[in-house]
Symmetry: D2
Amino acid sequence: MDVVEFRPTPDQFAWTFGGAAPSHRIKPGTVLKLWTEDAFSGRLQRTSDLPSQVLDMTEVNPQTGPFFVEGAEPGDTLAIHIVDLTPARDWAASTTIPFFGALTGTDRTALLHAPLPEQTWIYQLDRAAGTLLFEAQRSDFRTVLPCSPMLGTVGVAPAGREVRTSLVPDKFGGNMDTPEMKAGTTCFLGVNVPGALFSVGDGHYRQGEGESCGTAVEGAMDVTLIVELIKGGAPEWPRLEHDEDYVVVGSSRPLEDAWRASQVGMVAWLGELYGLDPLDAYELLTQISLSPLANVVDANYSAVTKIEKALLPPADAFNGMHRHLRSLSKGLV
Amino acid sequence: MDVVEFRPTPDQFAWTFGGAAPSHRIKPGTVLKLWTEDAFSGRLQRTSDLPSQVLDMTEVNPQTGPFFVEGAEPGDTLAIHIVDLTPARDWAASTTIPFFGALTGTDRTALLHAPLPEQTWIYQLDRAAGTLLFEAQRSDFRTVLPCSPMLGTVGVAPAGREVRTSLVPDKFGGNMDTPEMKAGTTCFLGVNVPGALFSVGDGHYRQGEGESCGTAVEGAMDVTLIVELIKGGAPEWPRLEHDEDYVVVGSSRPLEDAWRASQVGMVAWLGELYGLDPLDAYELLTQISLSPLANVVDANYSAVTKIEKALLPPADAFNGMHRHLRSLSKGLV
Amino acid sequence: MDVVEFRPTPDQFAWTFGGAAPSHRIKPGTVLKLWTEDAFSGRLQRTSDLPSQVLDMTEVNPQTGPFFVEGAEPGDTLAIHIVDLTPARDWAASTTIPFFGALTGTDRTALLHAPLPEQTWIYQLDRAAGTLLFEAQRSDFRTVLPCSPMLGTVGVAPAGREVRTSLVPDKFGGNMDTPEMKAGTTCFLGVNVPGALFSVGDGHYRQGEGESCGTAVEGAMDVTLIVELIKGGAPEWPRLEHDEDYVVVGSSRPLEDAWRASQVGMVAWLGELYGLDPLDAYELLTQISLSPLANVVDANYSAVTKIEKALLPPADAFNGMHRHLRSLSKGLV
Amino acid sequence: MDVVEFRPTPDQFAWTFGGAAPSHRIKPGTVLKLWTEDAFSGRLQRTSDLPSQVLDMTEVNPQTGPFFVEGAEPGDTLAIHIVDLTPARDWAASTTIPFFGALTGTDRTALLHAPLPEQTWIYQLDRAAGTLLFEAQRSDFRTVLPCSPMLGTVGVAPAGREVRTSLVPDKFGGNMDTPEMKAGTTCFLGVNVPGALFSVGDGHYRQGEGESCGTAVEGAMDVTLIVELIKGGAPEWPRLEHDEDYVVVGSSRPLEDAWRASQVGMVAWLGELYGLDPLDAYELLTQISLSPLANVVDANYSAVTKIEKALLPPADAFNGMHRHLRSLSKGLV
């Protein structure tokens, strides 16, 4: 297997899906050993750092890539398997950015309130214990949380000649911010432009479902991926596969539309896997869907439909690609 | 402990929250052994039964109750502990009702499409195995699902002199349709009228998160509850407690507002339990919230914010009421 | 014509649609000469009156009625013609109520902001000039606005055994808060219960479209109506007719659903008037709809679809009922 | 005054805001005499033409431009005055595109319905009478409508390195589809990139508010503009000025957020014009806002807040730029 290692310098960060020149051309089947900077571009380092003072909002959510995958054409499907996610620092940061988040007025949910206060939290990672320490800033409360690394952002160049900032999730993937994007996940994305031009970033050492305040436990990440190409078969919305689950991610507003997109995406997937009529799939989904929210803060909200494989007969999604990549990954960690 | 048993006849069903005369007056601490009819009022019995032919839409979601709780006054908190939920029949039903459901036009999401086809599914219960059999109606697909009994509807009389149909979830609880309402759950509801006037119904042998098509695996249920009264302390939105989790349910439209209500409700609860400042609670919630949807089909959508107790220091919500009821329940099953 | 005059005392106010005993039984064709108190129940009288200090939130939006219309049965259509609206006082009030309004967090759009400041404005009416004086409270700005009286609230008892507060708009009419409800308007409402039980209230001396802060120029009103009954023909959503326009009001959340309901209601009405196929009506509506918002602040938002009659061939909605009532009204003012 | 004439050939059309090379460099003060192709790129010509057969969905809504305005820098304000809009053909077209429109399931409001039927309408223009003939396709109904030319799409390159398709409205303007964009209007847009790079297109011979089915009376247009540059002063959302009105357009989802953005934009504008405190502006807006919807069909919905100048003291928005351009335009028509 080809192995490509890449630790971008700040001038090599990509800030968009589409519109950025490829950092590398890779063959399908390549292993990528990457480093991703945190969503704050590393500028938020201590609890006294306030977003309005240290952040440059034109340089947030830096992406590592994009990678041009040889042979990828519109209508194809990119399979990105996450082999490993390891925190690259011993701390991570979270903060309240003015007029950003789910429980504040924003530029869209435009209200007349003054912004909520800016406050920054730094989480220390205990690497041996696999835990993060939450320390309240306005009282003495502390609690220890498991470290559960995930990638907030995995995406390809959009369709329709568009270029979108790395803050946006949509059909091309992007900033979906779902805890389902973890080591062991295969992410299937439809290809929109020659080479697919995918990139990744936005490592979270941990995140709740919904990402209420808009920033997870944001930290630099060492990322190991295997990338494969499936000719044809592009799904309309991003699909994820774990050993235990099928997942579809929809991204839109209002939130019910994001969720509906994920549900209709799963109806389609169940049809492909089992020949189920849409009405039977609708009924089955009604009884077995898990629906953990992803984010309710980004330019589009992201909602998840998830099904435990144990509730279904055996099947080979995308001809068993996930199992194939999973077996390849065993030798890599 | 006082024990009240009640198996309502059809003329005794309640169809509303508020506006119905109490079926019983009970003392706090009473054990209730109830039977609830299914949401179709038992009229959907075979796959050839179509909603437009056999249902009376003015008689759906019958409630058992309401119960007048002695001493309950507006501002108090009712604690309803679900001791046991046992399917009362060996089958249950689900169906697609014209212009009702998440993936169809409705009277609110008003569109120009003809309704989706009506189709009915009957699930056989294997009581020994604790499973339900899903049989597709448009192909030979079948799969076996765990039976996971829950109550779709638990509520008190609303505030503001209102009477709401049993199809509606809101601050008074009602038709929240969340799988979190299962045996072992304590449900805390604010009291709005003297006696609280709570009722229960809408047993589901199983339901996915979101209840996409609008009807779960609907079946008659044998329900055992213990009811307690807490003076004062009424939460704005329904709170649930399991041995392992704290849960707040918000109900509104659009879906993001339902979820925001559950989040702000949890910020308040964390403040009560730990003295956390709202901004610290917002940050903590961002990293530990579970956000499984409840329903995206009812008159209001319901969304859940859930926190695993294991991530927090020990605490006694409502002075340990859940633990108290849990211990009482041990002797009852 | 029978004439009924009614000036309710505070103990005679109705606070709900449904659930209130009728104040009068009237025959179809009756003229009603009514007085309505303002939405604050008259408690906000000077700019130093703050809502949190002087309002009783369980006694807002008092209704005059309800009136039991003899012969009205479910499925019938009530036609309420507004003959005249005359301000009953020489001043009116508006205010910002904490966590109520379109540009603030609310109990549904639940956020972590402190409430916006409370502020009260009193408008002096110049009866001769037909104008209201707006005086800014935080600077010297003043401007003179035309007095344009309207009724915020016109409704019947709801279907489904429900009782709703007078703050809610829905299929039964209610608190729609549309400036289209003015002298010269005929309002057609479907009857849900025997006698229809309609009431009116919430006079506005003036209101913008959307009613942003949640309170219009609220004032007591002298109201003259003629009430007629049409057997059958109940529209799903409230319809209004002016000499110049047809109007349908939809009420729901999110706002697009309220508007969709009004659009689909107009597609139905065009079908009834001209035999238009829904697809042709959809196209025509696309090119001729006026879509002035009504309110984006109440329990449901209300949106309007409006068509100028001049763009359509002549037609007799409800067999010319509006024209009939209009001619009757000439002798009454 | 410099005059630039431009009638793009199909290979010169722009399909995006941002990302397209400028067709011309112009000086502030230039008069542009342009031709715009219709949104179907001229491919829909008779009622037998169905979208799925004749449209290329990667080539819809062609733009004329973009124009690089010398001296325009981020933070500046572009003033685009519409001198004249004259239909360039004697007919125009409208159609129902599968899964596009307000009263159908879409890729976002994802449902399980089959698409609505495709149907195409051709409107004949009577140039002398200034009217369009609507002919129903499924019955004999016909009616004559005034021709009211407008531009659906006026926009600049977006911020944040983005490139958006010409189908999208947002802060950069774009496909707002509001009937307020007519001859006599000055459109003020914030500049995001050097040269502003604005383009126009999507002529409508007529459109209702909301653009329900997703396509107006779409026709090629002869467009005369004057373009001016204001240093600084960039508004967050597009502002329009007529002789009689101030207008702010917000674009987002759900629809209430689009409208809130337009309202908060108007609060800001009233503050700039009159020194009004936001709370006083909120109150005033509540009583004088007109809120005609623009579109409820595009990637973002667009809502309008509009105020009649006659209700306000005299003022000079943007130092009287509209009046200046209006007087210049007199000599041009």
